[in-house]
């Protein structure tokens, strides 16, 4: 009987599946089984799975009719023979001590869950190389954190809000006994946030949790992901709210939350609301607009969600107008605020067009002033003006200057 079962749901992943499987099998920790759950792939994924199963006796292939990633993970869990379970996504890779280090940590701490950091790696261009960008890990709290249940629950909101590595199923190791004894499964009726629900249920059964900041899991962002159309997920906002409410219940399960915890939870709730509002598609006609309105109304039907906009002490500055709209329960106001914020962020994040004649002249002017006045307020102002012109273009620079002069916040 293998010690660890690693479960990989596979759906049309032929481009990167080989890297994923190879990275799991070549780990120094050998006593594992790899369960590849083929969820009705229509490309060459099944063939790749079969070939690896023929090469390595630790690999098993399960086949489902296309049922979704939750059903695939559940099928993998049912078939798992290991004392511990891990999940890996078919287009990611793991480090050579992913299983070994997490298992060692879990055993050393006598914990029910061990969580590691995630390294995000992005492909630079269509056939470009992969470059490590940022990490998500427990580092805001510490490099090696061990929490007994009451403290785990007490820190839960902070963990979710500050580490961004608590929702997914992949950067950790679970005990199979806890999953089986409590009948834990990935819910089939959620199009989004189903893995977070599973985790929240699991966390509520942990006697002790261990977190290490080391990034052992590589989340790969492949360039072709950029062109995949943002598919509309049904009941998106409702699923998101369910997830946040479940987290709230978990945080309150050991008694009333401390003030910092409540604040962290409010910040997290605001962040999730903004995320789900951003994922609403741009309405093309009245029907789609009404659908968006309904989604917003569903969000407003959770009083805790509305209250969190009051309690939060961090709102991203571009979304400041959203606060007033939510407090007033103004459906169209909310949609407008989100659209405006998206446009603003897009402006800031896209590189400006080639500077026009006026821009170049002004930039030269400010550059000259900068050199003339080596130090002092004039130098500082000229430098800021020149940099703004160069990075953001004439229009935005003027608007910001006007805004500063008339004392308004960055808006309009």
């Amino acid at each position: 009987m293998p010690t660890v079962s690693v479960i990989v749901p596979v759906y049309n992943a032929e481009n990167y599946l080989g890297w994923c499987i190879n990275s799991i099998l070549k780990q120094s920790f050998r006593d594992l089984e790899l369960i590849l759950v083929n969820d009705g792939s229509t490309d060459g994924s099944l063939e790749i799975c079969r070939r690896y199963a023929a090469l390595d006796s630790r690999v098993r292939v399960l086949t489902l009719e296309n049922s979704g990633v939750s059903a695939a993970r559940n099928a993998g869990m049912q078939a798992a023979q290991g004392e511990f379970i891990q999940f890996v996504d078919s287009d990611d890779v793991v480090s050579p001590d992913f299983t070994g280090k997490l298992l060692e940590t879990l055993r050393f701490c006598d914990a029910d869950i061990a969580i590691c950091g995630i390294q995000v790696v992005e492909q630079q261009g269509e056939n470009g190389g992969y470059k490590a960008t940022h990490q998500f890990s427990c580092r805001p709290l510490g490099h090696f954190c061990v929490m007994v249940r009451p403290l785990f629950i007490q820190n839960m909101a902070r963990l979710f809000w500050e580490t961004c590595c608590m929702e997914g199923p992949c950067n950790r190791i679970y005990r199979t006994s806890i999953i089986r004894e409590n009948g834990l499964e990935f819910p089939l009726d959620m199009s989004y946030g189903e893995d977070c629900m599973f985790n929240i249920e699991y966390y509520s059964r942990c006697r002790r949790a261990a977190l290490i900041s080391q990034p052992l899991y590589y989340y790969l962002w492949h360039f072709q992901h950029a062109s995949l159309a943002r598919s509309h997920k049904p009941n998106l906002v409702e699923n998101q709210m369910r997830q946040v409410m479940a987290l709230r219940r978990l945080c309150e399960s050991e008694g009333e939350m401390t003030k910092p915890a409540a604040q962290a939870l409010a910040n997290y709730c605001v962040g999730q609301c903004i995320k789900s509002l951003n994922m609403l598609p741009h309405p093309q006609d009245v029907q789609e607009l009404d659908e968006c309105r309904r989604e917003v109304m569903r969000m407003l039907s959770y009083p805790e969600a509305v209250k969190s906009f009051d309690e939060a002490n961090y709102i991203p500055p571009e979304y400041a107008p959203l606060v007033g709209a939510v407090k007033g329960c103004d459906v169209d106001g909310i949609l407008n605020a989100v659209a405006t914020a998206e446009k603003r962020l897009h402006q800031i994040n896209t590189p400006p067009p080639r500077p026009g004649f006026a821009n170049r002249v002004l930039a030269k002017l400010f550059g000259g002033l900068e050199r003339l006045f080596r130090k002092g307020p004039v130098h500082k102002w000229a430098r800021i003006m020149r940099l703004n012109l160069e990075t953001m273009g004439l229009k935005i620079t003027f608007r910001r200057m006007l805004g500063k002069l008339t004392g308004r916040s960055a808006q309009g």
């Binding site: 481009n15 990167y16 890297w19 070549k26 790749i48 070939r51 690896y52 090469l55």
Partner: protein, 319 residues
């Protein structure tokens, strides 16, 4: 007699040597001997090799005066007693089951050469060479050499392969030349009746060092690949691989012209450059009667008639 002889040329790699040798000694296929060839290494490598030999009876050490990578590999070949041979570079390392898989492939498919894929380890990233689909490809010598020409499976590198001793024969690596695998690997392929390739990466190719012999900057020694490919042209003709002639000629021309262009760009001059230019002038005539892409023939004629500088300037304009 051990099944596999693993030959590791060692020079100036004391920071990486243990990683390499440990990964060989901990292979799941244990019936092997490791031949560490200390090529007159000035650092502690010689002592480290002796440590390994004292600790593990499977390790043999050869201390020899410095003669270069080729001479080290050749010394290893001479000393090897195994039925199969493998080469591992001393700054690289292996996945645990590499030789187990390569040996299994040879016996299961009746092949004399087995090859697997590899990954390149850079300072801040890792690049897999292939998609690792676990596909298995069988080939005869002609298709394998075509693989070299197309840089697909069956690549010219020496170290991701297992060779049966019968394909080594009297072939040796050319001493004093860079790109020594370009001189040799195709000869091993030609001597095999059957080759097999497994599309899973099991070899870690270190590209993070700047002090390896194929470092970053272009230098005169990089012209050695031109001589290698010239020899290959003769070899393929002599052994009747006519179906590969045109493609081999095209690859040869591309490499030749590219290397000369690099000489122009990096302002490299010397006896080797002159020798290659003389070769190119001969080829301008040779390819009038042998199949090659007309673009290359034109460029060779241009080079011969107007000289390297003019050719370089023309290429500059094309960029």
């Amino acid at each position: 007699m051990p099944q596999i002889s693993v030959i590791v040329p060692v020079y100036n790699v004391q920071r990486y040597l243990r990683r390499c040798v440990d990964s060989i000694l901990s292979q799941t296929f244990s019936d092997l001997e490791v031949i560490l060839v200390d090529d007159g290494s000035p650092d502690r490598c010689g002592a480290i090799c002796d440590e390994y030999a004292a600790a593990d009876p499977r390790v043999k050490v050869i201390h020899k005066p410095n003669g270069g990578l080729s001479s080290a590999r050749n010394a290893g070949i001479e000393a090897a007693a195994g039925e199969y041979l493998a080469f591992v570079d001393s700054d690289d390392w292996l996945d645990a089951d590499m030789f187990e898989q390569l040996h299994r492939l040879c016996t299961a498919h009746g092949a004399q050469i087995a090859e697997c894929s590899y990954r390149s380890i850079y300072r801040d990233t890792v690049t897999e060479e292939t998609p690792c689909t676990a596909g298995v490809i069988e080939a005869g010598p002609s298709e394998a050499i075509r693989g070299i020409l197309e840089w697909k499976h069956f690549k010219p590198v020496a170290w991701n392969k297992l060779y049966h001793r019968s394909v080594i024969g009297s072939t040796r690596y050319p001493e004093g030349w860079l790109h020594e695998d370009e001189f040799t690997t195709y000869k091993f392929f030609a001597a095999a009746k059957k080759l097999v390739y497994l599309d899973v990466s099991k070899y870690n190719y270190d590209r993070s060092r700047t002090d390896s012999i194929t470092g970053e900057a272009f230098r005169e020694a990089n012209l050695d690949s031109c001589f290698a490919l010239r020899e290959r042209r003769e070899f393929l003709h002599h052994f009747g691989f006519d179906e590969l002639e045109e493609q081999d000629n095209n690859v040869y021309c591309w490499v030749l012209l590219d290397r000369l262009y690099q000489c122009y760009r990096n302002r490299i001059a010397g006896p080797k450059v002159d020798a290659v230019l003389a070769m190119a002038a001969e080829d301008a005539v040779y390819f009038e009667s042998h199949p090659v892409s007309p673009v290359y023939l034109l460029q060779l004629q241009l080079l011969r008639d107007n000289g390297l500088k003019a050719y370089g300037q023309m290429r500059d304009k094309q960029q």
